[in-house]
């Protein structure tokens, strides 16, 4: 016998637990399996031929330039994650605790808006500031200081990555800092925790999920970003996404690109799972 309530319960559970898995099964699992399979294909005469061989894997895993790109990408992503989190956190604190409600809404709005202007456009615009004879160099020479162009330097890369990720980090962090129970802060003060320590003793642990998830997204974004390394890094800093583009240039070597992708996915998946586990771990 199926009772009315059990139908309604199934309906309710189903409504929430089915859509995303269903959509993903239809439109994501397919591509992702295809991608994985692709990494074992051959390329003959500039055409990909389905097959199963490990050559692509051997080739990539055996290439020095792959590993150097891999380390470089991880380091940049990690650096950006730390940098962005460090910049975003004081800002989130200010927004959450030091601003009146209306100012908070305005500032959060202002932080979201740039997001709607294509990232490509914004990075392109950064070139104007950083390049030789760019705005910054001109400004400095106006006050009598000569500086080198900043384009194609790690600094430029970080500027690009931070442009990409900062709004996201601030928003995620703010959500999590704002919903923190204020009485916990008072309780900590009451136990002798000064305003300097309150951040490390209460706010950070309590807002940990937000901070970590924010940093994770920053990591993911900058790990896979192609635009900044290309347009602000001058292609000099081969990251994995640039390497993918390069790999493809040896005549339709998509299978090798797939290998790199799979490695990237695995790396990010491990990072993601570790950081989520850490974020939601109690204590």
């Amino acid at each position: 016998m199926i009772s009315k309530s059990s139908i309604s319960k199934k309906l309710y559970t189903g409504l929430w637990s089915i859509p995303l898995p269903l959509w993903f099964t239809l439109f994501f699992v397919g591509p992702i399996l295809l991608l994985f399979w692709l990494s074992f294909w051959d390329v003959k005469n500039f055409v990909m031929v389905p097959g199963f061989n490990l050559d692509n894997w051997e080739k990539i895993l055996g290439a020095n330039y792959f590993w150097s790109a891999y380390t470089r990408t991880i380091l940049f992503a990690l650096g950006t994650a730390i940098l962005t989190t460090a910049i975003a956190f004081p800002a989130s604190l200010t927004i959450a605790y030091l601003m009146p409600l209306k100012a908070r809404l305005v500032v959060l709005g202002l932080i979201i808006v740039p997001f709607f202007t294509s990232y490509l456009v914004r990075i392109y615009s950064w070139q104007v500031y950083l390049s030789e004879n760019g705005i910054i160099q001109n400004a400095f020479s106006y006050i009598g200081i000569n500086i080198a162009s900043m384009l194609n330097s790690p600094l430029a890369l970080y500027i690009g990555f931070v442009t990409l990720t900062l709004p996201l980090a601030i928003i995620i962090q703010s959500i999590s800092v704002l919903s923190l129970d204020k009485s916990l802060i008072d309780a900590a003060y009451n136990l002798g925790c000064g305003p300097k320590r309150i951040i490390s003793a209460v706010i950070i642990p309590a807002a940990k999920p937000g901070i970590i998830i924010g940093a994770l997204f920053v990591f993911i974004f900058s790990f896979g970003d192609f635009v900044t390394p290309t347009y602000l890094g001058g292609g000099k800093y081969t990251t994995l996404s640039i390497l993918i583009a390069d790999t493809v240039k040896s005549g339709q070597q998509w299978p090798r690109a797939a290998v790199i992708s799979v490695i990237m996915i695995i790396t990010l998946l491990i990072t993601a799972m570790c950081s989520i586990a850490y974020a939601y771990r109690k204590r």
Partner: protein, 340 residues
């Protein structure tokens, strides 16, 4: 009635109004372009799209070979196109024929040598690729981020008479030569990057590119030019083909015919996106008559030293896929070089 549509997979600019408006009017068609940014992605896109999605395909010669090999192109009938009017070098352009079958009609071409900022480097200085190692150019040399033109140019410097067909020793030498250039390099740029870095002075010299870049910059007032060094230059070509299973093959043929004709050629030589040399004699005439300055810069003038002359004198080598090494080897080396 409302115009029929014609789809075109092309490098940016080939379906902009300055190129196609007249054709569209004449035949009451609307050309819908799909612009691509890299040949590889273009081929991948074609490979994964249903056949017949794209009626016209615009590509560089290297990719025509790949496209034909992969059976993405319809065969063409040479009779349909005004090859008689083309300079002889382009009547039987190697990359476009596979055996007896024609797959593409050349639309325009250009030479790659050393592009340089005239404020820093004179034409005379640019007469040899050795310039690249010049002390004053430290950290002032840029690369267009593609191995074929760059390695081709340096291969010429190394004295290889056919730059893309080199034996193992020469290949190793080429690698050495290339790696020794790395300290001079400021960056590896895509099209846009090349343009802006030359323009704003970030780099002073870029090998392996040509008038297709400097021509654009000059229009914007930059003091730059391209010099073909004594060691020789590289040639690139663009062409039109008809996509496999195109349902509008007839119209596509009309389009190619139009582009190979005088009016089309004249337009192509002056494309907003970047100028290039055209293979049509009638086109040359009109260029020389109407835009002598531009024509001169591109090498379209009468007399010795013009584009055809350079080709005939053996100064120019067609950009090709490597013969004795695999494309992969070259590419891998390029990755390694960038990462070094």
């Amino acid at each position: 009635g409302s115009p029929t549509t014609l789809t075109m997979l092309a490098w940016y600019g080939q379906a902009e109004p300055d190129a196609v408006e007249e054709f569209e009017r004449l035949y009451n068609v609307k050309i819908i372009p799909k612009y691509y940014v890299g040949g590889e992605q273009m081929i991948a896109l074609l490979a994964q799209s249903p056949p017949g999605t794209y009626d016209i395909i615009h590509a560089d010669a290297e990719y025509v070979q790949q496209l034909a090999a992969a059976n993405f192109l319809e065969k063409l009938d040479a009779e349909d196109y005004p090859f008689d009017d083309f300079y002889s070098e382009f009547q039987n352009f190697p990359g476009h024929w596979i055996g007896k079958d024609l797959y593409a009609v050349i639309s325009r071409f250009g030479f790659l040598g050393i592009s340089h900022n005239l404020d820093v480097v004179s034409v005379k200085e640019a007469s040899s690729y050795k310039l690249l190692w010049d002390k004053k150019l430290k950290n002032r040399v840029g690369h267009f981020d593609w191995h074929l033109p760059n390695l081709g140019a340096l291969s010429l410097l190394n004295g290889n008479s056919s730059p893309y067909s080199i034996n193992k020793t020469s290949w190793n030498n080429l690698k050495k030569t290339t790696l020794s250039l790395k300290p001079q390099i400021r960056g590896f740029y895509d099209y846009g990057g090349v343009l802006s870095s030359l323009k704003n002075g970030e780099v002073s010299v870029i090998p392996g590119i040509g008038e297709w870049i400097t021509g654009v910059l000059r229009r914007d007032g930059a003091n730059v030019t391209t010099t073909i060094p004594e060691e020789g230059g590289i040639q690139f070509t663009e062409s039109f083909s008809i996509g496999k299973n195109s349902r509008k093959a007839e119209l596509a043929r009309k389009f190619i015919q139009y582009m190979a004709g005088e009016k089309g050629q004249y337009r192509l030589a002056n494309l907003n996106v970047f100028p290039a040399i055209i293979p049509s004699k009638k086109g040359w005439k009109r260029m020389i008559a109407e835009k002598p300055m531009e024509a001169k810069h591109l090498g379209m003038f009468n007399g010795s030293g013009n584009a055809i002359d350079l080709i005939q004198r053996g100064r120019i080598h067609i950009r090709e896929l490597p013969h004795q090494q695999s494309l992969e080897d070259w590419n891998d080396f390029w990755s390694e070089y960038k990462g070094s």
